[in-house]
């Protein structure tokens, strides 16, 4: 049980900006229908972060521990919007924790994340391609739209209504839908949702230090 709780608390998503200000630390955790994971990263510049990611793929009972660099490839600056393209990757080890006992293998992934955001509208897309040798390969695509019913000023509570669609071809339900709420205040971001296709909760948390 505690493993599950820990997993829920330590999961990582890309929908929170994966590169921070120069010298900033960020903790990102996510839990969704597929995995729970945590990413702690340090931004060496406003364009590059390097972090450590630990992920538990619950379906296969495989854990993944990698070094994850992320590069802000492009940012568009508008008076009322911001848009980003991030490229990311990871290299480390995947370990089978199931009764099958397949052991460990080298794991690597590449990914892309994009978003466009105003104070009331949000659109994003991310994809990840993971190779784990004998422990199998996975791909994931996820897209989001979001709307803020009001515009909170600095330091106030910001609330978003969001809808996420994800596609994971190694799952029985390949394409699923998750409505969620995002709460944003100062350096903290929290998301809670429920995957209505796969009957699974989603919890995400991000904190900027």
């Amino acid at each position: 049980m505690w493993t599950g709780v820990l997993g829920i608390l330590l999961s990582a998503s890309a929908f929170a900006r994966p590169v921070s200000y120069t010298g900033g630390w960020t903790l990102i955790q996510t839990a969704n229908r597929a995995s729970t994971a945590g990413l702690l990263h340090y931004s060496v510049s406003h364009k590059v972060s390097v972090g450590v990611r630990h992920e538990w793929q619950r379906d296969d009972d495989v854990t993944l521990t990698v070094i994850q660099p992320t590069w802000l490839a492009k940012r568009w600056y508008g008076h009322n919007y911001q848009a980003n393209v991030y490229l990311t990757g990871g290299l480390g080890t995947a370990t089978d924790r199931s009764v099958a006992g397949l052991g460990s293998d080298t794991a690597s992934f590449v990914g892309v994340m994009t978003d466009w955001e105003t104070r009331t509208l949000f659109v994003s897309y991310e994809a990840r391609f993971l190779e784990q040798g004998k422990l199998g390969n996975h791909s994931m695509h996820a897209a989001r739209v979001g709307w803020a019913p009001y515009t909170g000023d600095t330091g106030e509570l910001h609330t978003w209504l969001m809808l996420e669609v994800d596609h994971r071809k190694h799952f029985d339900n390949k394409t699923t839908v998750t409505p969620l709420l995002r709460f944003f205040k100062g350096p903290a971001l929290f998301e809670a949702g429920y995957n209505i296709t796969d009957s699974a909760p989603m919890f995400n948390f991000t904190y900027r230090f």
């Binding site: 900006r17 590169v19 921070s20 200000y21 120069t22 010298g23 900033g24 510049s45 406003h46 802000l72 490839a73 492009k74 940012r75 568009w76 600056y77 508008g78 008076h79 009322n80 919007y81 911001q82 848009a83 393209v85 490229l87 590449v110 892309v112 994009t114 466009w116 955001e117 105003t118 104070r119 897309y125 994809a127 391609f129 515009t151 909170g152 000023d153 600095t154 330091g155 910001h158 944003f184 205040k185 100062g186 350096p187 971001l189 900027r208």
Partner: protein, 177 residues
């Protein structure tokens, strides 16, 4: 996968909502005819700026180049620019003789943006108070009496935070005068 990344990159760079804004920036001015008053233009990247609501100063010569949508631009040019946002800290810093600065920031849409600029600018000894106003999309600064923070410094600090600046106003102009 390479194909996916390539298609994604091409698609993003050609999105109308992004392309329109960048086009507007490029169309607006010949950089050699610009006069931004006191602004330090040394290394500012005008290709990434949204000039839509910039204050071009009294010396800006609108007769020397074409404005395709002159009426619309006049509306923008005559609208007032945001003054400094006063908080308790900023009021106290101004009362102590600090110099007010207002920076129009591009891409400020969320509290993470405010956190980033607070962290970066807040570390500077020259800065006695600051506030990121998401509504006005401005960074309000008070520079300590006797200290200086050049436009280039401000631009560099904003870049370290991950953002770009569109304009800088100081002293009476920053106070809305």
């Amino acid at each position: 996968m390479k194909k996916i990344l390539l298609v994604l990159t091409v698609t993003l760079t050609s999105l109308p909502v992004l392309a329109d804004d960048n086009q507007k920036i490029m169309d607006h001015h010949d950089p050699h005819e610009m006069n931004h008053g006191d602004m330090n233009r040394g290394e500012m990247n005008h290709d990434e700026m949204d000039h839509g609501e910039m204050n071009h100063g009294p010396e800006h010569n609108h007769g020397s180049h074409e404005h395709p949508t002159e009426n619309a631009k006049e509306d923008v040019m005559t609208m007032s620019v945001p003054a400094i946002t006063t908080t308790d800290d900023i009021s106290a810093a101004l009362a102590n003789g600090g110099a007010p600065v207002v920076v129009d920031v591009l891409g400020v849409v969320c509290d993470f943006c405010a956190v980033a600029m607070n962290k970066i600018f807040g570390k500077r000894e020259e800065v006695s108070a600051l506030y990121v106003d998401l509504d006005k999309k401005t960074l309000s600064l008070v520079v300590n009496k006797g200290a200086s923070l050049s436009d280039q410094d401000i631009e560099n600090l904003a870049k370290r935070a991950g953002y770009r600046i569109a304009a800088i106003r100081r002293d009476a102009e920053a106070l809305g005068g």
